[in-house]
């Protein structure tokens, strides 16, 4: 259960860092998807649902406090977590940077499609409330910084595995 506790505390620590510290930084630094990337990395390294729980938990966190630009993030993040878990097991290797980046891009693509669908539905009733251009720019930066963060995390994989007590696959 020590591992479970580490992962619960890890989630809260990363969520706090993202919504309190990173979100307060100037654009584009406020778009770093810390929990999402960490969740993808954990899915890839552990082949478990802990990373998926982090991603779903982050969607729930944003919905509970109304922190997201697009609502109903829990659903979008849940879809992304499932797709990432399946693709990590069936398609992408955790030993290669390209494998993890591909897994991240597929999962991020799911949230992107979900956001577009929600924004489109909302724009039918409130066209004035849609800010597509700002949102697109934000998502481009978010994806780019996510890839940079994955590269950084991937290069520190040995240390992080030891820290989290993940056995070598």
């Amino acid at each position: 259960m020590t591992g479970t506790l580490t992962r619960v505390l890890g989630f809260f620590l990363l969520a706090l860092l993202q919504t309190s510290l990173l979100a307060s930084l100037p654009f584009p630094l406020n778009s770093i998807p810390l929990v999402f990337v960490a969740g993808i990395w954990l899915i890839q390294q552990e082949s478990s649902v802990a990373g998926a729980a982090w991603i779903i938990g982050m969607g729930l966190w944003m919905d509970l406090w109304g922190l997201s630009f697009v609502p109903w993030q829990t659903v979008g993040f849940s879809i992304a977590a499932i797709v990432a878990t399946v693709s990590a097991r069936k398609l992408f290797s955790h030993r290669s940077l390209y494998g993890i980046v591909s897994c991240y891009l597929v999962a991020a693509g799911c949230t992107l499609l979900w956001d577009i669908a929600v924004q489109f539905i909302l724009s039918l009733s409130h066209p004035e409330a849609s800010a597509w251009s700002a949102w697109v720019l934000y998502r481009v930066w978010e994806t780019g910084l996510g890839i940079v963060l994955i590269w950084f995390v991937f290069s520190s994989t040995k240390h992080l595995r030891r820290l989290l007590g993940i056995r070598t696959a």
Binding site: T4, A23, P26, N30, G57, L64, G66, L67, Y138
Partner: protein, 265 residues
């Protein structure tokens, strides 16, 4: 990976998911209080970096001291002018309604920003005060000497979410301090600006006209500074014109705000 190994791993991870979800939903209040100790310094640190970064960007255009002085002067003059205009209006109303008893008083509840929105514009933030401190949905949130930055849009016992004026989904009842005191609705537009639409063409609006709250909505006092008009878009063939307003306060630069709550007499 075999099925047995999966089962061994699954149990603690299901427990993990249940703990995270249960903590977020049922332990919301105590969780908010516990987390705010960590969130406040983190948010304040990020806000400080943003403030420095924005100041640095402004300094690239003009010298830092000049920029700070000009902004200070502009805000001071805007506040002074808004107060003067409000006093002039109030004086006229009071002459007409001598003996009128104001039924409401406003009290400021200081709050720290604990979280900010994840998305473009940073259009909402969470504060560490909630219903237990008298905060209700619709309350005005101000910084400095009464510069409005947003409205409370949702509350819990221990926290509240504030949506900023620049959010495209938020509308605020305003008064333009032009010759005829045009009233209308201001709504956020892409970026960091506010738009006032459907202003009749016969009403004169000038660049640098002040925009203040009209007080025509619940939980919002009149005369709070919102911004200054920096563009007027009119079409001679259309019956209405549009004013683009630049907010005077940027919520990204403040880690502490005040929520105006009512105290019934």
């Amino acid at each position: 990976m075999n099925t047995r190994r999966w089962r061994q791993r699954l149990l603690p991870l299901v427990v993990l998911s249940v703990i995270i979800i249960a903590a977020l939903i049922w332990l919301h209040g105590p969780l908010v209080r516990a987390l705010s100790f960590l969130q406040k310094p983190l948010s304040a640190g990020g806000t400080w970096v943003t403030d420095r970064a924005l100041a640095w960007c402004e300094a690239a255009l003009i010298t830092g001291e000049d920029a700070a002085e000009l902004i200070e002067q502009r805000n001071a003059l805007a506040i002074e002018r808004a107060e003067l205009e409000k006093l002039r209006d109030e004086n006229a109303v009071l002459r007409d309604q001598l003996g009128f008893l104001e039924r409401r008083q406003w009290k400021g509840v200081a709050a720290s920003v604990t979280q900010r929105s994840v998305g473009p514009n940073g259009s909402s933030f969470v504060i560490d005060r909630g219903v237990d401190d008298g905060i209700q949905k619709g309350n005005a949130v101000v910084v400095g000497d009464g510069m409005l930055v947003g409205k409370v849009t949702s509350t819990t016992a221990t926290s509240a979410t504030v949506t900023t004026l620049t959010d495209p989904g938020l509308a605020t009842a305003i008064t333009l301090l032009n010759g005829v005191r045009t009233i209308g609705l201001a709504q956020g537009v892409t970026g960091t600006l506010i738009a006032i639409e459907y202003i009749p063409n016969e009403e004169t609006i000038r660049i640098n006209d002040l925009v203040v709250t009209s007080g025509l909505e619940e939980g919002m006092p009149s005369g709070l500074l919102i911004g200054i008009v920096n563009d007027v878009q009119s079409d001679p063939t259309a019956p209405f014109q549009k004013a683009i307003v630049e907010p005077l306060a940027d919520s990204r630069r403040f880690a502490i705000v005040s929520v105006l709550v009512t105290e019934g007499l």
